[in-house]
Symmetry: C2
Subunit: 380 residues, 2 copies
Amino acid sequence: MNFCSSTFNSSEQFMARAVKLALRGRARTAPNPTVGAVMVRDGQVVAEGWHHYCGGLHAERECIADAKAKNVDMTKCTMFVTLEPCNHYGKTPPCTEGIIEAGIAHIVIGTRDPNPKAAGGLEFLESKGVKVETGVLEEQCLDLISDFLLWQSGERAYSILKLASTIDGKIAGTTGRQEAVSCPDSFEDVQKLRAMVGAVIIGGNTLREDNPSLNCRLEIKPEGFAQPKAVIVTTKLPENHEAFTLTTTRAKETIFWTTIEQAASETAKELVNKGIEIIGLPCDEKGLIFENGFKFLREKYGVLRTLCEGGGKLALSLAEQDLIDEFVMYQAPRILGNTHGRPNFAGSDRQFMEEALNFRVSRVSQSGCDLKIVFKPADR
Amino acid sequence: MNFCSSTFNSSEQFMARAVKLALRGRARTAPNPTVGAVMVRDGQVVAEGWHHYCGGLHAERECIADAKAKNVDMTKCTMFVTLEPCNHYGKTPPCTEGIIEAGIAHIVIGTRDPNPKAAGGLEFLESKGVKVETGVLEEQCLDLISDFLLWQSGERAYSILKLASTIDGKIAGTTGRQEAVSCPDSFEDVQKLRAMVGAVIIGGNTLREDNPSLNCRLEIKPEGFAQPKAVIVTTKLPENHEAFTLTTTRAKETIFWTTIEQAASETAKELVNKGIEIIGLPCDEKGLIFENGFKFLREKYGVLRTLCEGGGKLALSLAEQDLIDEFVMYQAPRILGNTHGRPNFAGSDRQFMEEALNFRVSRVSQSGCDLKIVFKPADR
């Protein structure tokens, strides 16, 4: 497939490469931001770097190390970095000093650092005579750190919704039987998403129909990896809880979000006795209100990111409650063509397009024969 | 938005640029293939060309002319061209000769010319000492000429389906009221699609609900432009035909595809008296069989491309009859969330994903805030 970018601007192409590198580190950089950098000489990328894990070298220092290893004359290079280089002593010395030491004379920054502690890099570099440009692919560079910005300012986990859907918006056939919608590459990619979250969220229907384990099944897991917790959202706790993998073999990692009444029920007590956690959430006429659940995961377990793998009703509820920070859709290029297939979003009584929930496209890439489209809420 | 191409291979990037240039000519090159070319020196595009219109210079000669105008030393350049340069005298002298005269020593070809009359360019160039590579982005370069290949071998018009749809596969709200789904850029782009087809096809529901004119409303129209014919597909001819723009002010450009029985009805006679053409098509249990309609348009009016702008039922029928050569979807990043919204594909009784109709992604680009995704049938 062909991705026609709207411009053929080389600065943007180099920054797009830095963005792509940054994403490689995403599973392990939290609670740090994901950052990528490339070194460019005469229109060619000559060195690359990204922040691999929290506590490791920052992207700029990785890139400088790569350049040194390749005997690149950095005084003749421009460095593209997705985030303003830090100017403070944290787990590592400031990147600004590394840049000056390396003799790099020209820096292009995707977006300035909104963290006041780390900011000031631009001014420091300019004071040392470095030419600094900012704002290349700024929206995309900001999107890279939108989780980081939430962790700085908010109290809840960053919420990712994942759906695999046909062109006609179906996530399963009419029977609900578990069937592959997307291609094997997309399955593998979902495992990578699971590897970077602290909890996977599903609805009660998914529990009953698919009996999932929600484990990350990557063969090579990130260092320090722990299986994500499993969160089941349901207004009715399951009485036949012996039937499910999550409520038996993964009981100690399983949490129910349910009504306050259900959380005080006999079924709840049985589940609690098995080591399962039950969280009662408030309700309105549309159902459970999830925000406290996301706060609970962050506060009690330090969960920084969640991944919702539920069906269309849960997906729509999250969207309506503005609790989708990022929406990853694997769009399979196929058509069921039957309006009774399971919908990717369902449960709204919106009649008109003007009432639709608006997102924006943040990133598009190929995932085998599928498209992987990353959406963000339109207003952020 | 960010388009992450799967590779960072510069040959592919240059060919992708040539593909993009080729598409600029698409409205006016028919029945010639659309072709694009770029001249590259030291990793930079230094000249560009594309086939503008049938009878005009070929892409290679446009690119050579651009290079000459810019005083480019072509002996130091590589030319990337989407289609093998022609080796025969047609409306213009062979491009292979132009390439030799220009002194270009290295050619990269997207795909070989399947037209035996024009082929042989590769061998001729090699016999003159030019280094020739082939097969860079071959699938995309073949997709560029898939209409041309049909014209060479088939008897029918090349069929393009267009839909503007939400993430959840809706083309309108629940009432069917005409509302914008996609953004203004996509509206404008649809006008460009209309400018390159000989007929626009809709269903009877679209006629009744939207009363469209189906005119191309581009402010600057291609030279030699004529408004596309309007084809209405319906098993029941409208008795209230005074109510519609197409059957009154555009009567002489309007054609109905209907059943053989309806084509012999009194209503048909009334419509014919107004200058409207009625084509009776065979039926099976699922409805009209369209192939003869596409053949008729080609044979009687020389229509090379059609654009279907119908609703979900017509779209699905075309897909089931394997009469979609190209499917252009404007995907608006929004969610209606109501399963009663109008679906982009409807009318199938497929229960399982494994029965789904398979396409492949050919091209993806940005159209304002929408994604423009071009699909092709998976098996071609």
